[in-house]
């Protein structure tokens, strides 16, 4: 499903070289629920953006479903993100001028082929399932953080992706709302067999997943 081979990402800040991700090789199988854990600044987000095809590694290769993504055009990468990958961010990243429902529907506007489902129906189904259907016409700044993050998860799921990448999804939430989101994610993994990569710096949260990948200074020290 996801395979990284000797992936490095180096930032050059004047004279200084920052190895955000340092020669990482790993494999994540379909249906796995994995956490990437490590202290702040160890390169978790950088690794996630690389897996999510938003960033390109300085060296090494990323394979998604066996396909070397460095061979793909920007347009093909966009389509892959649209159809296979769903993002959940710490700061929700909803678009404020759109309502909850419009935010959830946004990815469907970018599919070039025909959708194999009715977007309105699927959005309704997801929002009902997450208990926020009554907030569908609210703008993001008019609902709680927990509700916003559910909208974000619904948006990540609408295209029926095979991978969910969640970067500190509970970071901006209180313990209760955070646990609800984590329950929701593990539910998705169990029931729909969606591959989930959960990024966190809290060991407690990482413990909920079957597999932990531990990072330090850009390197994977345990997988």
């Amino acid at each position: 499903m996801i395979k990284l081979k000797n992936v490095s990402k180096t930032y050059f800040l004047g004279e200084e070289k920052v190895k955000a991700v340092d020669n990482v090789s790993l494999e994540i199988k379909k249906g796995e629920y994995v956490s990437i854990v490590g202290p702040s600044g160890c390169g978790k987000s950088t690794l996630m953006y690389t897996i999510g095809l938003l960033d390109t590694p300085t060296s090494g290769s990323v394979y998604i479903d066996g396909q070397d993504v460095s061979k793909l055009t920007d347009e093909e990468l966009s389509h892959l993100r649209n159809q296979k990958i769903g993002f959940v961010f710490q700061s929700f990243n909803l678009i404020n001028k759109f309502t909850a429902l419009e935010n959830v529907l946004l990815p469907t506007k970018y599919l070039k082929d025909k959708l194999d489902f009715d977007p309105q129906e699927r959005a309704e189904e997801l929002l009902k399932q997450f208990g926020i259907w009554d907030r569908k016409d609210f703008f993001p700044n008019k609902i709680s953080g927990g509700q916003q993050q559910r909208v974000a998860v619904a948006r990540a799921l609408i295209m029926k992706p095979s991978i969910i990448l969640a970067d500190e999804p509970t970071g901006n939430l209180d313990t209760k709302a955070g646990h609800e989101i984590l329950d929701l994610l593990s539910d998705l993994n169990k029931k729909l067999n969606v591959t989930i990569v959960l990024i966190t710096h809290e060991m407690d949260i990482a413990k909920r997943t079957k597999r932990k990948i531990v990072m330090k200074d850009g390197q994977v020290i345990s997988k």
């Binding site: 999510g52 966009s78 993002f87 990243n93 001028k97």
Partner: protein, 407 residues
């Protein structure tokens, strides 16, 4: 279905942004509104001027041919309009006589033959004096000029045969002599020691010379004013526009039997009109060019705001890229926004221009033509694309990772 869905989403998205920035949207599109308004208004006024002049000409009858001594309109006379007498002409010039009139009358296509004696003179009433123009013509003159009567009647054939001392006054001359233009009918005027009875007053025509003329039978001028029995010019009229060409060719042929080629000239009314039209086409182009400068400024305003918008919405661009928008999707999104913004401005500019033109039409024949509408929509749409494409390109070329991390 898919396209409609996409376009709908784009426009909806653009309008959502305009709502969030009402003042900015208003000010930005105001630039285009003003630009489109100035172009459309300048065209409308140019057209108005052209219409105004054409109306002046049409008052003279559309199918008019002027035969004059000398080289015609270009050779002198005043610049006031098409109907200028030879009062200001110099040099040795032939004059026509009744023989020319009868030979021209033999041309089949020609309906009206009006010999014209023309002189600027002092015209007296009981206790008033006024400089005006004495025009000696025949009774066909009134038909040729489509004259309308304010008061009384025109003279007829028997007045010409009897050399009766009657006059039909132009509107302004009658007004200046008698106070009220209509009061002239039935009164007496004095021209060159000759007493003439005013039998009618013409409606105002807008032609300076016509409105200040005392029109009398040409035979009456033979007594003392015009002992040589000659005419400065002969006006010819045809009923159908198609005959104008043939009629003027035949008239030339006829006159060439007696005069040399450079001794007279034949000018068609339509020739003058087409010259006027050419002048106005050039004038119009100049006006459009001047107006376009403000459109250009409006376009730069749009570009400026679109660059600001792109920077402001970097995060949104990042989010859209993360959920699958391609570079092209982003490009089209921002392009759609600037086109909608610019076209809205153009539409408002057009509407305002229409209102203004409707208001000034009461006293000036300004007009909105297709060109104006095409400019309002075409050019404002084009400006939206042209000035929007650079900012939109910048948005599209933002690396997704940079955009999504932007705070």
């Amino acid at each position: 279905m898919k396209l409609r869905n996409g376009t709908y989403h784009l426009i909806k998205s653009a309008i959502a942004d305009f709502k969030r920035n009402k003042i900015r949207t208003f000010l930005t599109s105001l630039g285009i509104t003003i630009g489109v308004m100035s172009v459309v208004m300048l065209i409308a006024l140019g057209l108005g001027l052209k219409n105004y002049i054409s109306e002046q000409f049409e008052g003279l009858g559309a199918n008019l041919i002027m035969v004059m001594g000398g080289s015609g309109l270009g050779g002198g006379g005043d610049e006031g309009g098409g109907f200028s007498g030879p009062a200001g002409m110099f040099g040795s010039v032939i004059e026509f006589d009744e023989r020319d009139v009868s030979s021209l009358r033999r041309i089949q296509e020609i309906e009206y033959v009006v010999p014209t004696y023309f002189k600027s003179l002092s015209i007296e009433a009981e206790d008033n004096e006024e400089t005006g123009y004495v025009m000696g013509v025949n009774e066909e003159f009134f038909g040729l000029m489509n004259s309308e009567m304010l008061e009384g009647n025109v003279f007829d054939k028997s007045d010409l045969q009897g050399r009766t001392k009657v006059a039909v006054l132009g509107h302004n001359l009658s007004e200046n002599l008698f106070g009220e233009a209509g009061d002239g009918a039935g009164r007496t005027i004095r021209v060159d020691n000759m007493r003439l009875k005013v039998i009618g007053v013409l409606e105002k025509t807008g032609d300076r010379e016509m409105d200040k003329a005392a029109v009398i039978p040409y035979t009456t001028t033979f007594a003392s004013l015009n002992p040589d029995k000659t005419f400065w010019s002969i006006y010819l009229g045809v009923t159908s526009e198609d005959d104008v060409e043939t009629a003027s060719e035949k008239a030339e042929e006829t006159l060439l039997k007696r005069y040399k080629e450079d001794e007279f000239s034949i000018t068609e009314q339509s020739e003058i009109l087409s010259t006027v039209n050419q002048i106005f086409a050039v004038l119009n182009a100049i006006l459009v060019a001047i107006g376009s400068i403000s459109l250009l400024v409006g376009g730069i305003g749009i570009m400026n705001i679109m660059y600001a918008t792109v920077t402001e919405r970097t995060k949104e661009i990042g989010i859209r890229r993360a959920i699958g928008a391609t570079k092209k999707d982003i490009l089209v999104q921002f392009l759609a926004e600037s086109v909608v913004l610019s076209t809205l401005g153009g539409l408002v500019g057009l509407l305002l221009s229409v209102l203004i033109v409707m208001a000034i039409r009461i006293f000036f024949p300004a007009a909105i033509n297709t060109l104006a509408v095409v400019i309002a929509f075409g050019v404002s749409g084009f400006i939206g694309v042209f000035f929007g494409v650079f900012p939109a390109k910048r948005a599209a070329d933002l690396p997704p990772i940079v955009a999504i991390k932007y705070e």
